[in-house]
Symmetry: C2
Subunit: 448 residues, 2 copies
């Protein structure tokens, strides 16, 4: 404990240097979707790691390189995952300061990638650095995997993990990405929902016809699409595609206990989500958000979309959908079920997959989970909000399914980090607190 | 008959001059929607009419002027309706010759407004001119009403007719607009369907939410819209809005007789409409196209419409619809029924009217109808295709409902005139044939 207290003191003395290092990392663009600066950023990150005393190197993939590093010795190995690539900064004119010129205003650092995810991955590195500075060693074995295309859907991360299972073997995967709970308390997630993107499109004629001269005797692509879509859900919003729910895992007692322990303020949530009201009970709300799959239309297109009317019978219509999947749903099986349903409704409809990510779950009853909760609570002074899974998706399955290790997600950014949006920012208090959580987690995990 | 034969000979001798005059009229842009050249075109048209020996003048309306002329004496008065305004010519780059530089290629005159409607309204004027040249008089009384904003929905025509009922009093309204039957035979219509345009829109949240972080617990505007729309039709495409069909007039024996007499080649129709097949029986096909109302989606918009996926829960969704209405449906009553239905389905939905036009019907058993059919058949050498109504809409109700006179529609343009599209054209044989039909109709109508 004495050693850890010294590390903590060192961390607190070096805030200025930590901020400087983050600014250096953010100043390097690394936009994976636009292939801008990604390799340069990988090299900068290796450089920074080496400077902090952590041996590191890049690994080539079919896409952008993975930055890998490892350090320490001990019975317990934790693998920290993060990503050094960022979202495109557009629209540029909406930023109050340039996205790659990180600027401090009112206790926050503004810049693309500050919160998502450079500030968070750097927290782990800075915690290690303080251990090395103060104690000359760290109490556990640590591996770092920082990928360069999370914002593009992590297309080659699974391959990388499959090909380097021995190198990456660990007792726990630890991811800091996303925000703290809205209340400011730390959040801890034991999994993520998966994702399946698809598009349904229809062509009912070779061209848009005149709605008067042809109206009543030929099919309308927009109506046909509405017919297909409305067949896919019942009036309560439950998916009617045969087999859709078949592989959904029943919540465990521990899952339901986590939900039972949560605070619940539906009016506050409604305000944060921009909706009039939320009328569900707590268990229903959190089960739907974390333990149940969704089928969401994210885009509808047909016919005329300008002002006024254009009296046509649209020849084409399409709907983009995404499904959030939960353990143990298999995205390809779900896709096949949807495709089958749609084609049965209308043999002319085309269903195209736009990519997927597997869901992932880790048992919250795992002993190591208490250590992470303790680290988060001690460093933040607040009781963590622990949830069975995130509603969103991360490539967490590469750890739980491919590597076969438990995985816990502990986000460090402020709830209003505006990631993926203009004026992305990281509250510096969250940044410094993240470093302390990482340091404390290393300490807790080193204990027998 | 001798007099008419001389008129016919005169018409046939003067084709070159007729074409020149049409070119002059088409060369003057008159785009009502863009307010370009409309007044200049009205003045040019008055000028042309005076040059042909027909006293004419403009009448101001709240919109673009009406060109009015009258000539002749007799027991029977026919009112010819047409419009001198044209559709916008965009996209300009798709034209093979400039839209307002009328050009003859392979027996057709290309230019915006050639068929819709300048060539057709000019046919009546040129027929009168030949009577005047050959006989010094015409055998009936003729009135001309050429409006300047048909392509903008004829917003002030009803007012003009209401305010000038005495001036316009006639025994028959006669409109040449639209194309001949696909077979090349003349078409004769005893009415039109009306039109009601509306938009349904929904806002379920103040912003688009993340489909992972919020998915499952808040409404999705696209799904809510699909739910509303799917409630509006049954699985056979029949409208389920209470009251929608209430005012629909039962077809008369004569209506059904007209349909019974039509030829029907569903495979040919399918090809012309760009659809795979048409599987209805003849009566069903023509009843649906002319005697039954439609409810058509002409535009659907929600969420993300670019490439790939954007994992959002759309906050907004909208559908544009148009209904083709038949006698005796009242557009305002139909709109109220739809609005009531939608708001019952979802009290947050907004339903906005985008304008309407009343349906119109004339009794096909009317004695004068035989004279028009005879004129069309004699001048074209082909048996006219007579239909109870057009599938499309024209402001025909101003004659049948406001002025209270029967109205017959006899289009003169080729079926592939490409009106409202680039490379609009008028087949010169159709143009010359139209002049002969008008001349013959004047002759037939003059007979007791």
């Amino acid at each position: 404990m004495l050693g850890y207290q010294k590390v903590l003191a060192h961390l607190r003395r070096n805030k200025r240097e930590h901020l400087k290092l983050l600014q250096r990392l953010v100043a390097q663009p690394s936009i994976s979707a636009q292939n801008e600066g990604v390799r340069e950023c990988a090299e900068l990150l290796v450089n920074i790691m080496e400077g902090l005393g952590i041996p590191a190197q890049t690994y080539e993939t079919e896409g952008h390189p993975v930055v890998y590093g490892e350090i320490g010795e001990g019975d317990f190995t934790v693998l920290f995952y993060g990503h050094y690539d960022v979202q495109p900064p557009e629209p540029l004119e909406a930023w109050d300061s340039p996205p790659f010129k990180p600027t401090v205003r009112k206790g926050r650092l503004y810049g693309r990638g500050t919160g998502d995810n450079k500030g968070q991955l750097l927290s782990h590195l800075l915690a290690v650095h303080s251990y090395l500075q103060v104690l000359g060693e760290i109490p556990i074995k640590i591996k770092f995997v920082f990928e360069g295309e999370e914002e593009s859907g992590s297309p080659y991360l699974a391959d990388f993990v499959s090909e380097h299972k021995e190198l990456l073997q660990a007792d726990l995967a630890y991811t800091s990405d996303g925000p703290l709970h809205e209340s400011g308390a730390p959040a801890v997630y034991y999994g993520v929902r998966g994702m399946l993107g698809l598009e349904i499109s229809l062509e009912t004629a070779s061209w848009d016809n005149h709605s008067g001269n042809k109206g009543g005797v030929i099919p309308n692509a927009a109506w046909e699409l509405v017919k297909i879509l409305s067949s896919m859900k019942d009036e309560n919003g439950r998916v009617r595609v045969a087999g859709f729910y078949e592989q959904v895992r029943e919540p465990s007692t521990k899952d339901l206990e986590l939900i039972e322990n949560l605070e619940y303020h539906p009016w506050q949530i409604a305000k944060n989500f921009g909706v009039k009201k939320i009328e569900m009970e707590k268990e229903d709300f959190y089960r739907r958000l974390t333990l149940e799959p969704t089928m969401s239309i994210n885009g509808l297109t047909s016919g005329y979309q300008g002002k006024g009317t254009k009296t046509i019978i649209p020849a084409r219509a399409s709907a983009k959908l995404d499904c959030r999947l939960v353990a143990d749903q298999d995205p390809e099986m779900v896709f096949a079920a949807i495709k089958h349903h749609v084609e049965k409704m209308n043999p002319d409809a085309e269903v195209v997959m736009q990519g997927y990510m597997h869901p992932s779950r880790t048992d919250p009853a795992l002993p190591v989970s208490e250590k992470i909760l303790k680290a988060a609570q001690t460093a933040s002074g607040k009781k963590p909000v622990a949830l069975p899974a995130m509603g969103g998706s991360l490539p967490d399955y590469v750890w739980t399914k491919i590597l076969g290790v438990p995985s816990i997600i502990v986000p460090y950014a402020n709830a209003d980090e505006a990631n993926h949006a203009p004026n992305e920012n990281l509250d510096l208090e969250c940044f410094y607190q993240g470093i302390e959580i990482s340091a404390r987690a290393m300490y807790e995990l080193s204990k027998k």
